[in-house]
């Protein structure tokens, strides 16, 4: 099954998003990471790297980020991964909350990393005000 890492400037935000997404796929491995080493708002590439490694799934890991340095620090974390894991990790251009919810649904259905990524990215175009 594909796993998901949620990366925010705020650990609280990451954990809250994880909680919401987890309801849609109880068995999907989801990890939340956020904040600096001293607990301020920000992102820490080493913590992101550890979060990715902690998933330990073989079908791949989808990464969802909030903004700014979260993107760059996540790219840096990917660069620091072992080659073998690096190949199974993708950063996705999706809104972090909607993307996480859709990704959890897709991952729970056993879809591939590429399918989960595409679905999460399409969540950005979903009509919210029906």
């Amino acid at each position: 099954m594909v796993g998901i890492v949620i990366i925010s400037h705020s650990l609280k935000a990451a954990e809250g998003i994880k909680e919401i997404a987890q309801q849609m796929g109880r068995e999907v491995p989801i990890v939340a990471v956020g904040g600096t080493e001293d607990g301020d708002l920000g992102t820490d590439p080493l913590a992101i790297k550890e979060a990715i490694e902690s998933i330990g799934e073989t079908d791949g890991v989808l990464l969802l980020v909030d903004l700014g340095s979260a993107v760059m620090n996540t790219q840096l974390a990917i660069d620091m991964l072992q080659d073998e894991l690096q190949k199974r990790v993708v950063l996705c251009n999706a809104p972090i909350l909607e993307g996480a919810v859709v990704a959890a649904v897709e991952a729970a259905m056993g879809h591939t990393l590429a399918q989960v990524k595409r679905a999460a990215e399409e969540a950005g175009q979903m009509e919210k005000l029906l």
């Binding site: 904040g35 001293d38 301020d40 920000g42 820490d44 700014g68 340095s69 760059m72 840096l76």
Partner: protein, 210 residues
């Protein structure tokens, strides 16, 4: 003239001192067009740099700069972390195994550092970022070197160009980073990252002038 390991260590300490002294100033600049944390981020990063410096201070200069990079990457927390982390990582690559640096080594380090920042952040000159200070600085350094100037004169030219580049960010509309969210409202404010970039280069120069 060459730069030895002790001078490199002194440069790093001087950079840390500059970030501590300008913590409030950089944060104030970032409060106008960002999230009011650039000075806090840079000071936190360089405090970590100082903490991790003693065990490597007798190693080759490449190892010293790679250590600076890892400290910044792990402790800064904002966009400046991966950017300056990459900058000093490139310094470390060029200086790998070296016990002293020539003027041309430093020129190559600055150029590689800038290239690293541009690859990581995808910014070009004119987007109101640290690249606006660093790119003219690298160009001025290499022009001075081509004209046969010595190391101190090259670095002095780089600092002067960084200062002009920093000031030139004031009328720009931000296209990268947090300030980008402000659009036109970012006009009229100096970019915090361009300001810290100039301060870091100035700290290097200060050691060579003393």
């Amino acid at each position: 003239m060459k730069v030895n390991r002790d001078q490199v260590v002194a440069m790093i300490e001087e950079m840390a001192a500059a970030m501590a002294q300008n913590k409030e100033y950089l944060t104030e600049l970032d409060s106008a067009i960002g999230d009011a944390d650039h000075g806090i981020n840079m000071d936190r990063g360089f405090r970590k740099v100082l903490e991790k410096l003693p065990p490597v201070a007798d190693k080759d200069i490449g190892t010293i700069f790679k250590n600076v990079a890892m400290s910044l990457i792990s402790a800064v927390g904002g966009a400046a972390g991966p950017l300056y982390g990459t900058f000093f990582m490139q310094f470390g690559k060029i200086a790998a195994g070296k016990e002293e640096l020539t003027a041309s080594d430093i020129g190559a380090m600055l150029a590689a550092g800038l290239e690293g920042i541009k690859q990581r952040g995808k910014a070009v000159v004119g987007e109101k970022t640290m690249v606006d200070a660093l790119e003219p600085a690298v160009e001025a350094y290499s022009a001075a070197a081509d004209a046969g100037k010595d190391l101190v004169e090259c670095l002095r030219a780089a600092v002067a160009a960084a200062e002009d580049g920093k000031k030139a960010t004031i009328p720009l509309v931000a296209k990268k980073g947090r300030a980008h969210y402000l659009g036109e409202r970012s006009v009229g404010h100096q970019d915090p990252g361009a300001t810290s970039a100039e301060l870091l280069l100035r700290a290097m120069l200060k050691v060579l002038e003393s």
